[in-house]
Amino acid sequence: MSFFEILQSIIPQAVFFAAPLIFTALGGVFSERSGIINIGLEGLMVMGAFVGIVFNLAFVDVFGNWTPWVSILVAMVVSAIFALAHAVASITFRADQVVSGVAMNFLALGIGLFLTKQWYDKGQTDMVERPFYTTDIPVLSKIPIIGDLFFSGMYLTSYLAIILAFVAWFILFKTPFGLRLRSVGEHPMAADTNGINVYGMRYVAVMISGALGGLGGSVFALTIALNFSHATIVGQGFMSLAAVIFGKWHPLGALGAALFFGFAQSLSIVGSGIPLLSDVPQIFLLIAPYVLTILALAGFIGRAEAPKALGDSYIKGNR
């Protein structure tokens, strides 16, 4: 394979692999920027995948070709509501945020599988009839080289993920809402004395993270897994959490980190076909994505500064 061919196969693969992680990691960024640790991303993805699949199966006759889009929307809404559990526990009830997040992971899987058994009478759902499909973008895909690399055979949801990363960056760093949200994660009392509703902001942030986690999970389910079972979401949420930290709590950083994971995974699979890498024992290719991540962190990413108030529950009138 020529270098170009390799790129041409790696890029779309990296992107579709990364897309669900991007959505979810962006959710993580929102939550953590507001000061709430979100270890429950895995659970939010599970919930999103479950809702996305179930809705798709149930309403495919109603919404026709729009079914996957409506499904991810519904998954977002339901997961946002589900995230309320984390919000109530960690913001209002002052629960340890890590504890609450861990509980979210258990709860989502429990509910998802329990209801699957109730509704389908088996451990996994059927495959959806109408998942997302890739497309070539009209006009753009005709551009030489670039068209083949970036605009052919891509999921629209992947573009959505990338666009959303920029939107998130814009919201967090350019709008009053973003400024306030970040202030709440850095110094909630300062925000409070400036008349910002700390609890309100944190609720909103956690629910956004629920919506985005649900989006990530449902996109994963509707582009890759096509059904829901205990084996649908297995660690993608934790990888997204890693992307949040790897990306230094920045939306574009998280985007980069998720794409990095996508590239590394794709490379490890394409690797066996590349002359230089084909002699490398399989095991090294298999662990390469994870080792590369550690090396990248140790080598040049280094110390990342978390939002200052991350993990602290804010108690009005306390110092």
């Binding site: 350019k174 709008t175 400024l179 970040r182 850095e186 409070d192 008349g195 009005k316």
Partner: protein, 508 residues
């Protein structure tokens, strides 16, 4: 009467504590009104009530004659009340402008109009002579600047009643002077100010009236021109207070600490200490005077092993201790009362008792062969708590729950009790009330009289003048002058600290 603020018979309780009881505070338009009281008297609480952070159990608040229910800082802002908190409410990673506009940002469509915001901040800052850079990040500017940002924050919100909670505790004399200028220009613009401070001199200098709180109870309000510091102090404490600490003449003996040609870089790699030479003898207190940021912190960090020096040498007696680990340095006979008690001095989540052995936990009788002996530890803590008058429910209470003064007394107890040869005390009385200051000063002099060397770092000229036997003026990383307190005055010291030579300072 044209009171802008009236707080009548306020009562505020916390679980188990009555922080304010029957406190009345009336502020006239255009005055600087001092609020005075010991640590924990309830000053901050009262102001937080006024600012809407706490809700009072009883009492009434009137703003400009109208009864007001201030349930939220937003309401306080709308009523024109602004507050600069004792612990700054600034987001470190934000710029000056972002901090100021946060919560009421000028907008351009959906965006923060940052250009417009910066312009507004610049204008405001020029109008009151505050001189801040709107684009600077908070973490990169000095404490004094940060405080101005806090003031700007209130002005930006259109406050005409400003609450300043202990604004001068963290400032250098120069900065205090500038702050006073700022306050006066604010009054000039028709604003009113409530000022909390433990420094009676400041009250005498700038305030019109003064309200005193003692243990949560309102004691009364006096006209400053009709009173004097002694009266204020006794009103506050409820007994007579002596001010200048009694001390005999020092009797310096052999050299304990000697520093030769020391060079130290700070975190950013900038050389902050440049060829510094200094000696401290047994039985004397050497005060380091200087404007913050002239290398004092780096010097102390280098001596105590927290920072590496790049060249030169530090010796205790005849033993070179440069670049030893903090543990080795303490073991060689140095005690250190750190500048920032929360960050360095204490593990706030440990019981106060365990904090008492933070430097000695690995030695007998507190542990033996790696096994701790908590009985001995708490016994020791108990006796130190008694000896150093640390007010705490018991030795098992978390250090976090103690007031700043009591935390500081605990640290001093711990450090002094180790019978070191050299005590390094960095800003040992920052933010403390007169009673606590008196106590700490007495202790330091006692230690000197026992033949120990004391190196005192303070930005408080009063403290330097009162306590030191010898004053080393530090400027731009060097000791530029070595003077006796009785041969100088604050005026001259100030000039030396600003980088003038001894001759020039003497001439003026």
């Amino acid at each position: 009467m044209d009171y802008v603020i009236e707080m009548l018979n306020i009562r505020k309780e916390f679980p188990g504590v009555v922080a304010n009881n029957n406190v009345t505070l009336q502020v006239k338009k255009g005055e600087i009104h001092a609020l005075l009281g010991e640590n924990g008297a309830g000053k901050s609480t009262l102001m937080n009530v006024l600012f809407g952070l706490y809700q009072p159990e009883r009492g009434e608040i009137r703003v400009k004659g109208k009864k007001a229910a201030i349930t939220d800082p937003n309401i306080a802002n709308k009523l024109g009340i602004g507050m600069v908190h004792q612990h700054f409410m600034l987001v470190d990673t934000f710029t000056v402008t972002e901090n100021i506009v946060l919560g009421s940002e000028p907008r351009k469509g959906a965006l923060v109009d940052i250009k417009k915001a910066e312009k507004q901040v610049k204008e405001l800052s020029e109008r009151y002579g505050l001189n801040v850079d709107p684009k600077a990040k908070i973490r990169n500017i000095s404490v004094g600047m940060q405080q101005r940002v806090e003031i700007l924050k209130t002005l930006y919100r259109g406050a005409d009643i400003l609450i300043l909670d202990e604004p001068t505790a963290v400032l250098t004399p120069q900065e205090i002077k500038e702050l006073i200028g700022i306050m006066q220009s604010l009054i000039h613009e028709g604003k009113s100010i409530i000022l909390i401070t433990h420094k009676l001199k400041e009250i005498m200098e700038v305030c019109d009236r003064c309200t005193v709180i003692r243990k949560g109870e309102g004691i009364g309000t006096v006209d400053v021109k009709d009173t004097d510091p002694n009266e204020l102090a006794s009103l506050m404490v409820g007994r007579e207070v002596t001010f200048s600490t009694e001390k005999t003449k020092s009797d310096p003996k052999e050299i304990y600490l000697s520093i030769k040609d020391l060079r130290v870089k700070d975190v950013r790699g900038v050389e902050m200490v440049k060829d510094l030479n200094l000696e401290v003898r047994a039985g004397e207190i050497v005060g380091i005077a200087g404007v913050d940021g002239n290398g004092q912190s780096e010097l102390i960090e280098a001596i105590t092993g927290l920072r590496k020096s790049t060249s030169g040498q530090i010796a205790l007696h005849d033993k070179v201790i440069s670049n030893l680990s903090p543990r080795k340095v303490t073991q060689s006979g140095i005690s250190h009362i750190p500048q920032d008690r929360h960050k360095f001095g204490l593990v706030l989540d440990f019981p106060i008792g365990e904090n008492m052995v933070l430097q000695t936990y690995y030695q007998e009788p507190f542990s033996k062969k790696g096994v701790m002996n908590y009985k001995n530890i708490y016994q020791k803590a108990q006796s130190l708590i008694k000896e150093y008058d640390v007010r705490t429910p018991d030795e098992y209470t978390k250090a976090r729950a103690l007031s700043g003064g009591n935390q500081q007394k605990a640290i001093i107890g711990r450090e002094v009790d180790r019978s070191p040869d050299l005590i390094i005390a960095a800003q040992p009385t920052r933010g403390l009330d007169v009673g606590a200051i008196e106590f700490i000063h007495k202790k330091l002099i006692e230690e000197r009289d026992k033949g120990r060397a004391v190196l005192l770092l303070s930005f408080e000229l009063d403290e330097i003048m009162n306590l030191s036997d010898r004053i080393a003026v530090m400027f731009d990383g060097q000791i530029v002058a070595d003077v006796k307190p009785e041969e100088t005055d604050e005026q001259k010291l100030g000039l030396l600290m600003a980088g003038n030579t001894v001759e020039k300072a003497g001439a003026e």
